[in-house]
Amino acid sequence: DTAVSQTPKYLVTQMGNDKSIKCEQNLGHDTMYWYKQDSKKFLKIMFSYNNKELIINETVPNRFSPKSPDKAHLNLHINSLELGDSAVYFCASSQLTGTETQYFGPGTRLLVL
């Protein structure tokens, strides 16, 4: 029983394409997050949703658009992919924001060629 799942695990695509990553959590948490981990393993928050509402929106290009159809799902759509978008994208969830334990998914490894 996976707590936080992401699909796909690997994504290889060409520059300029549009792609989506999906995330689901079965922990009953109210808050979900998207993080980007670059090649140097630096993990940076991109977005956070609480009960389907956007609460954190970091300085992320507007080519990235998160969508939360319900509080158990948080998807990430990326338009016009660029080489610099290559990274591992992690979804996470927590009951509340910040101090509460964040549970991370296994990550989606995106490679833009």
Binding site: K41, L43, I45, A92, T97, G98, Q102
Partner: protein, 111 residues
Amino acid sequence: TQLLKQSPQFLSIQEGENLTVYCNSSSVFSSLQWYRQEPGEGPVLLVTVVTGGEVKKLKRLTFQFGDARKDSSLHITAAQPGDTGLYLCAGEMTAGNKLTFGGGTRVLVKP
């Protein structure tokens, strides 16, 4: 500029040795967390410290939050190969706010 700086960036030791990883900042944090990430997986929370000067122990791991709540350390006693991984500290500046992660410390424990 990273708000939280971890040192060292990489540490390679023999099984049985001790190690310490540091997480430093010039900013005050309301809480600080330590995560371990293994290859191909997401980070997993090890501990959360919230009080200045707090020390928490998790088996062979000892975590300390600085008195001024600007820094933290993770000490592993008698390291084992299973301790190998990327250790990340993450701080929350205001309660209920986002987590800011440090750059990570890669630990390799050789048998």
